[in-house]
Amino acid sequence: MNAVTESRNQTVQTPQSAQAPGQDGRGYIIPPANIVATQDGYIAELEMPGVSKDGIEVTVEGNELRIIGRRQNDLPDAELCYCESAHADYRRVFELGPDVDTSRITAEMKQGVLRLFLPKSEKAKPKQIEVKVA
């Protein structure tokens, strides 16, 4: 069972079709994510270049994990003459399975990558069953 699934990102729009109101009306970018499952839980990494630790907002409501990243406004005082980056904030929502212990989620921000650790609840962890000799 996939315990970290995508949900409700349809409200998120790419900058090209930006209608959804972002912080400044520019819409949000969906940050690329990697998710792996380990014995103890799930590790999710999201790429949000231009966002510092202070710009990160991670909230859990019910089984919904919402991640928002707001960019630092430290652009050079100059004319932008060639542009590929979207200059918009980031937003992505995941739905968590019942095996995630939402009370113990931890987050770390390093060079524009948010790394979340979503521990499995004790109940959901695999257990070794000892076979006793009768």
Partner: protein, 139 residues
């Protein structure tokens, strides 16, 4: 056919983007490419490249004449290699990107900083390349 798509998109870019001459000369290089922005004012050309999740030591910046090249390698965390993958949208491995600068710059004064996953390179223009105000004399 990723190669073919790449060539197609490169051709499209040249026709569609009026700034394409100043823009990155994309090499047909296997790997990923960071997004870049180029800024200019009277004194400097500033290049910003989005390179989230790198180590400073794994990025190299070089200048050869008027061609600025950013290269490096992004490595995956060991811990992530072990688990079962649910979602893989990030790129890892080597990258390289070159930009032809629109003006000559002073090679000795170039500065690069890496913060919040963004590489910022400030390239001061040589004196001759800076715009000059011309006084209008009344006769």
């Amino acid at each position: 056919m990723p190669e073919l798509n790449r060539i197609q998109s490169e051709i499209n870019r040249i026709f569609e983007d009026p700034f394409s001459l100043l823009a990155p000369s994309t090499s047909f290089f296997e790997g990923w490419e960071p997004k870049i922005d180029i800024y200019e004012n009277n004194d400097n050309i500033t290049v910003r490249a989005e390179l989230p999740g790198m180590k400073k030591e794994d990025i190299t910046v070089s200048l050869d004449g008027d061609v600025l090249t950013i290269a490096g390698e992004r490595k995956q965390e060991e811990e992530n290699k072990e688990g079962e993958t649910y979602r893989a949208e990030r790129y890892f491995g080597r990258f390289q990107r070159s930009v032809t600068l629109p003006h000559p710059v002073d090679m000795k004064k170039v500065q690069a900083t890496y913060k919040d996953g963004v590489l910022t390179i400030v390239l001061p223009k040589v004196e001759e390349a800076k715009p000059k105000q011309i006084d209008v004399k009344s006769s």
